[in-house]
């Protein structure tokens, strides 16, 4: 294991989408306990610099592994199906229709209950996209199909953020 190991090697996890979040968390803390710069504070600048590199690398991997969206994107890229969110904005018509409906609902939302209802719907949609992503990655090994799901998840995540912004505007 070294700084060039991939995230799964670093965290000693099987290279697949389905993961146990608590195992990722525990492994992260275990690794940071060894590598965090604070452990080397009394050992000179060179040790500090190296510890910093390790610690940054461990945090980077943790950041990617713990988030289903980023984890799925990483697996797609490792398997030759990059996400290319900027160049690849073609989405199925049904998905775009649903996005438009959500946008309208968000515009019209005037109270917290409206936002909660919308939030629930978005979360459900997110859960099913994540489940679909898992099937495509772990069972069907359809990485191009999974990349499409990841792009859908990115739209959903963006929309969830917009709901939060709206909450702030409503003074929640």
């Amino acid at each position: 294991m070294n700084l060039q190991s991939d995230d799964f090697e670093l965290f000693e996890l099987p290279r697949r989408f389905a993961q146990d979040r608590s195992a990722i968390d525990a492994r992260w803390k275990e690794l940071q306990r060894e590598a965090h710069p604070d452990r080397f504070a009394a050992q000179g600048a060179a040790a500090q610099r190296l510890a910093m590199q390790w610690s940054v690398r461990i945090n980077e991997a943790y950041h990617r592994l713990k988030d289903p969206l980023r984890r799925a994107a990483y697996l797609c890229e490792m398997n030759g199906a990059p996400i290319q969110a900027e160049d690849n904005t073609a989405m199925p018509a049904a998905f775009l229709m649903q996005q438009m409906e959500w946008r309208e609902a968000l515009e019209e939302a005037s109270a917290e209950v409206d936002l909660d209802r919308l939030d629930d719907e978005v979360q459900q949609s997110r859960q099913s996209a994540i489940a679909r992503c898992g099937e495509l990655l772990d069972e069907q090994r359809d990485y191009a199909g999974a990349a499409q799901q990841v792009r859908a998840l990115m739209f959903i995540a963006r929309f969830a953020q917009d709901i939060d912004t709206r909450r702030d505007q409503l003074g929640q």
Binding site: N2, A35, P37, D38, A41, Q43, A47, N59, H63, Q172
Partner: protein, 626 residues
């Protein structure tokens, strides 16, 4: 007769091996220093037994100054030269200081860089122009002397606390002040995290905790997960310009409005502030109190009830709770999942604040540690561990960056590089290219904040990358790496990928001091007026040499077996040469050079140790998993 010193069981008996490390809470209203003595963290008192040092510095004509209680005594008689709450000006420009008119100081725009015409605000005093960094350094130096007197020894280093919501400029200013005060900075840590350490270790707590920290000038909320000595910050939020001072100002405004009078002169402004503060403090214990202040020679008197005070400050308390809601949302937790709420900061003594927090979380907050001391105590525990005194300690802090970092792109938009609440240390790389043939330099403007427009975020610095090899437009690939270290401070490095050339970086901080300015302040012998600069430099070089020798020795003792005989001999020769230079030379530069030589000579060894440590950690887990 000197008493024999006997060390704790399990701790080093050699006094030279025990490093004195302190935690300092550099507060808006007052500051404290604490240290671990005999295994227990405690605040160090001054020679009159007082633990709190008022964060007030008075400058006198001719270079004299008064710090702490002495300065407070002159606050009303000499308001222009008596600087209080300087923490609010750290890393801030002139236009950032709200309510400038209500403050008695003579503000001046600092020496900024020419392009932004910004720069950190300065204060004109009888002792000359003072940067907030210099004022803060006076306070830190006072605490340093207090600690040195307590232990009758030099300090190995200090952990300084900052509000979690401090941005990069405010953190950098604090770091600069530490350097000016002649302290070796072990780490900047966040105040709520420090409080959590003191609480968590004291109560052996596990689970999700919220730390609500309302100080004199800043408000922080941190949501933490505590598991077996790991303090993981999940989300943080706050307002670096909301604190007890604002409650004072709101009360003062309300009373003046009721009476239909105005405070105009600096003396009147200071008197009104002081009266409001007395009134606020009295209302913690009583239901009503008289507000008394002498304005323009006439006494203003007005009866204030607690309900009036609550009403006049309700908007401030609501502002803090809005930040709490945002932090919970960032943490993706509901308020019911929070198992304990810790109150920190003197301003949480106000009954309306306590009540509002209790109502919000639906539980009584924890207050069993002194809210004034808890931050310094936590910092002392961390300092002791960082100094390597507590080798059995398994305390680990995993903190986050409070505000997103981004760079300016076309049209004044922000491209986000590091998101808020990401665990530090962290690094992100971004590739840039040139748009003109033969372009050899490019400028990157780094901002901090959550908004999409550059104009709505805080400008941190402009980084100019120079030395890019000339190429056709768009051919160069310049990878800029933004690193946020464990202190929460940003560093930028850049490399042209096709040629491998490292770009040189000139940093122009928007609201900070340049290296030249700091060097000049050090030259001016600030905080060390009575000391000979050369002697001081030599002492510091020798302390650094000792630090390096100790570190190398303990590394050899622990992992010397991974070295070949020749490698070990080479390192030992460098150590020997450093020892000789340290003892024989009185030239600071020579000692520094020998220290550098040892640092360089042990770099490969350090790398191998690190890699082995990580691999062993992995192997250890394998054995358990089998």
């Amino acid at each position: 007769m000197a008493l024999l010193q006997i060390s704790e069981p399990g701790q080093s008996p050699d006094p030279h091996q025990r490093r004195i490390a302190v935690g300092i809470d550099l507060g808006t209203t007052h500051s404290l220093v604490a240290a671990v003595r005999n295994g227990v963290a405690e605040c160090l008192p001054d020679d009159q037994g007082r633990v709190l040092l008022p964060s007030v510095v008075r400058y006198l004509p001719g270079g004299g100054r008064q710090i702490g209680h002495e300065a407070v005594a002159q606050q009303v008689s000499d308001p222009v030269n008596t600087i209080a709450s300087v923490k609010r000006f750290m890393g801030r420009g002139l236009q950032d200081i709200t309510q400038r008119d209500a403050l008695p100081y003579a503000f001046a725009a600092g020496e900024g860089n020419e392009e932004t015409a910004a720069g950190m605000v300065s204060l004109e005093t009888a002792g000359g122009m003072k940067s907030p960094v210099e004022v803060s350094a006076e306070i830190l130096a006072t605490l340093r002397y207090r600690a040195e007197d307590s232990f009758n020894d030099d300090l190995y280093g200090a952990v300084i606390t900052v509000p979690a919501y401090f941005d990069d400029a405010q953190r950098q200013a604090t770091k600069d002040a530490t350097r000016l005060a002649g302290l070796n900075l072990l780490r900047l840590i966040n105040e709520p995290t420090a409080a959590a350490i003191a609480y968590g270790l004291d109560n052996a707590s596990e689970g999700i905790y919220a730390v609500y920290d309302l100080g004199g000038g800043t408000f922080d909320i941190s949501i933490l997960r505590l598991t077996q000595g790991v303090f993981e910050v999940i989300a943080t939020g706050g307002d670096s310009a909301l604190g007890g001072d604002d409650y004072d100002a709101a009360l003062a405004d309300w009373v003046l409005q009721q009476k239909g009078v105005k405070a105009v002169s600096p003396e009147d402004k200071a008197a009104v502030r002081a009266a409001a503060r007395r009134c606020k403090e009295a209302l913690t214990a009583t239901e009503s109190v008289a507000f008394c202040a002498v304005l323009a020679g006439a006494e203003v008197r007005f009866d204030v009830h607690r309900a009036d005070f609550d009403a006049a400050t309700a908007a401030l308390t609501a502002r803090s709770l809005a930040a709490v809601r945002r932090a919970l949302r960032d943490a993706q937790l509901s308020r019911e999942e929070v198992q304990g709420v810790v109150l920190v900061g003197g301003s949480t003594r106000m009954p309306q604040v306590r009540q509002a927090v209790a109502d919000f979380f639906g539980r009584e907050p924890l207050t069993n540690l002194n809210p004034d001391e808890v931050v310094a105590l936590g910092a002392a525990i961390q300092a002791n561990q960082l100094a390597g005194n507590n080798t059995a300690g398994d305390l680990l802090l995993l903190d986050v960056i409070p505000l997103s970092l981004g760079i300016e792109t076309m049209g004044g938009l922000v491209e986000r590089i590091v998101g808020r609440n990401e665990t530090i240390p962290t690094a992100k790389a971004q590739d840039f290219t040139t748009y003109k043939d033969g372009q050899t330099a490019l400028a990157v403007h780094v901002v901090q904040g959550e908004r999409d427009l550059v104009a709505d975020c805080r400008s941190l610095a402009r980084f100019e990358l120079r030395g890019i090899p000339p190429m056709a437009a768009g051919a160069a690939r310049i990878r800029v790496t933004f690193t946020v270290d464990a202190d929460g401070l940003l560093n930028v490095s850049a490399k042209e990928l096709s040629s491998g050339v490292e770009a040189r970086i000139d940093v122009k901080p928007s609201y900070g001091l340049s290296d030249d300015q700091i060097a000049r302040m050090l030259q001016d012998g600030f905080a060390t007026a009575q000391e000979d600069m050369r002697a001081r430099a030599l002492v510091e070089a020798r302390v650094d040499a000792d630090r390096m020798l100790m570190a190398t020795q303990s590394a050899l003792d622990a992992d010397g077996n991974i070295l070949s005989n020749e490698e070990r001999e080479a390192i030992e020769a460098l150590m020997q040469s450093l020892r000789q230079t340290r003892d024989a030379s009185d030239d600071a530069a020579a000692v520094e050079a020998a220290t550098q030589a040892l640092a360089k000579g042990t770099e490969a060894f350090a790398a191998r140790r690190m890699n082995r440590g990580i691999r062993e950690a992995l192997a250890g887990k394998n054995v358990q998993a089998l």
